[in-house]
Subunit: 418 residues, 2 copies
């Protein structure tokens, strides 16, 4: 009789969860460790930030998702260290987990490129609490403007700057502008929310650099139709309370959101493996760590190349595919077979710009507009975890579509008095 | 030409909101001030606390509820002072509002009867942030138990004490017990959540003292069927970290919730009017403050008697009726008519005990069980503010009923590391 191997998975995001699911029928004990109790459907997080969805619509308890999987336990805990020699993962609360195989899937945080002091002034969007913070600032801006008597200060209250023209920045800018210009204006007596300025600042020559040029140009036109001011080739040089500096220009704005970049998890540095400039772990083609065939890295923390030499992008479908591939390679190791290299299958890219508008890129086939938007809706509802979430999101979207109102526009007392 | 009178309403709860709505067609300017941006449907707040509903399901932005009412503005602000001589309400942020008529409807907070030090150990349930805090502790208790190796500590993690056998305590105890015993147990590997102890402690001789004795007895049996341990004539003498003292007995429990009493808002003391022992304002029969016919108090802060001499209870229908009555009396004053005394119309009382069980008291007609529960469902959906909330709550309830799962079981990282 052999002992059952123990597989530890750090992270219950797209990568970790798909790995855990792929290990369902493996003769092994699986432990999933996450520092929240929920899996988060990040592609819809911007809708929580803009008060269209509730936190619970885009998340589900990890232990509930995996509750039928009898070989798997779920631990709420923050990883403090990984000792690849002793094969031990230790948590902040002192618990230690010995592993025979390890999958590291911690995801990433937003990066401020050496300007950590900007974070409190320009929060980013990764976790549910980030979304709550952005929602708080977004809703509070209008409340402050409503009672502000100084015209210049009121204009700053009604100016929103989003830094970063990738999909998250585009989604945030589109949603904020739509709500300000179409949804909220009837609710206020002393301000016209339709006069709000929403400015999307991108350092590169165009927004959505991961999309083909014609689709990105179409997205830019759609954003401008929604009233967003798009500024490309514009570098943010400083952020202060109430002001953003773009090049030499100062923009008065009380609300700034950050969507300009990601930074790898510090767990990567604990694996004794080579890291790239941004802190990602340069993994073997089978996703294992050089020198440690029993340790795999998947998702945003892994740097792995496609067949054509370009890196696999940091998107959810890639994390899901990598998680499954790492799990299958662990099964092969358990059966004393050779591991297989990971191959990325690009299913296509979608980005939503606002009400009724999106862009879709399937390589040879590309399109934009309402059809892309309907496809975006369908794909996101389909991939949402949990039947309850799907129904709830569908209802909220139908409501928002008809009324232009976000359904989750709540500020608690503790929140606005922060 | 006369100037339009200015009516200030403090509080956007049941009392303040119904007053504002009743002033819709009055030739006056109305200002509603609240320290949150939302109206809260408090009768369902315990379902947010027990992870069945989301915050946004039981709340709606006050300014959105009133957005069609052109004579009304809504201000997010915390009242610092009321000067009844100068007729000025001042806010913490320095804003001042002069009024011709004032309606004070601030609601109440839970009271610890001189034991303010118990509040951090045994949070109560009044605002959305209270519900988040209770949910956090409720969900975290099982997470801690799952990794606890000491049997006694694990038992304390799985023991929940609810202090106070009124409707809120009964609802909390029923919901927590149902979820622990029917819903969550499949999600854990190392604990059996069905072995959780839920103890409802009431100082008086029976639970639900505002209900007739036979209905309260029926409710008690229902609670016990759900696995709740009901302890009446039991006085909580002390609360410490991890322990509740009931009389001389010490109960090891890591999670304690407080539903034992209310305390009037401190705004009552600013009106220069007589207060009762609990701090309520003893108002005239027309709800105005003695000596200040232009100032009205409604809801939990007002002490007013029924025709039979008993006080009007502190329930939402009473606050709604009082708000409307105060508004009508202000209209009469504007038209130089005499005000009318308030008469309370008791529509009947409902309390829910758990899945499929409730009690209903309509004076001559009383019943309990499934019919009362269906009535409770219907009434609460009907009175919920906002079409979106009604649909959303209906869906969540259908989901919870079928699956025994709460749909909003999310703990963020910041929450559990508190």
């Amino acid at each position: 009789m052999t002992t059952r191997p123990h597989i530890v998975i750090i992270g219950g995001g797209f990568g970790g969860l798909s790995a855990a699911k792929a290990l369902k029928r493996t003769n092994a004990d699986v432990t999933v460790i996450d520092r929240t109790n929920h899996h988060l459907f990040q592609p819809l997080l911007y809708q929580v930030a803009t008060a269209s969805l509730s936190s619970s619509d885009v998340s589900a308890p990890i232990r509930h998702i995996l509750h039928r999987q009898k070989n798997t336990e779920v631990i709420l805990g923050e990883v403090r260290g990984i000792d690849v020699e002793r094969r031990v993962v230790s948590l902040e609360d002192g618990h230690e987990f010995h592993y025979d195989y390890l999958i590291v899937a911690p995801g990433s945080r937003h990066a401020y490129f050496g300007h950590g002091e900007w974070e409190p002034l320009a929060p980013g969007l990764k976790a549910l609490e980030d979304a709550s913070e952005i929602r708080r600032r977004f809703l509070l801006a209008f409340e402050l403007a409503e009672t502000e008597t100084d015209a210049a200060k009121r204009d700053a209250d009604l100016t929103f700057v989003i830094v970063g023209g990738g999909p998250t920045g585009v989604e945030l800018a589109g949603a904020i502008s739509t709500m300000a210009k179409k949804g909220l204006y009837r609710d206020f007596r002393h301000i016209d929310t339709r006069l709000s300025k929403v400015i999307l600042v991108e350092g590169g020559p165009r927004i959505l650099p991961s999309f083909p040029e014609d689709l990105a140009a179409s997205a830019r036109r759609s954003l401008e139709d929604l009233g967003v001011i798009v500024r490309t080739s514009s570098i943010v040089t400083d952020i202060n309370q109430g002001e953003v500096c773009v090049g030499d220009e100062r923009i008065s704005a009380n609300t700034v959101f950050w969507a300009a970049g990601n930074e790898a998890s510090p767990l990567g540095a604990m694996l004794g493996a080579p890291l790239d400039r941004s802190g990602k772990v340069v993994v073997n083609p089978d996703l294992s760590v050089p020198g440690h065939p029993e340790v795999f890295v998947v998702g945003d923390l892994a740097l792995v190349n496609r067949k054509d030499g370009r890196p696999v992008p940091g998107v959810s479908p890639a994390a899901i595919q990598e998680g499954r591939a790492a799990a299958m390679n662990i099964r092969r190791l358990i059966w004393r077979q050779e591991t297989k290299p990971f191959t990325y299958f690009n299913k296509g890219d979608l980005a939503v710009i606002g009400r009724s508008r999106a862009i879709a890129d399937f390589g040879k086939v590309r399109f934009s507009g309402r059809i892309a938007w309907l496809l975006w809706l369908f794909v996101h509802i389909m991939y949402l975890v949990g039947f309850r979430n799907r129904i709830s999101v569908f209802i909220q979207w139908a409501y928002s579509y008809i009324t232009y109102q976000g359904g989750a526009r709540v500020i608690t007392r503790a929140e606005w008095q922060k």
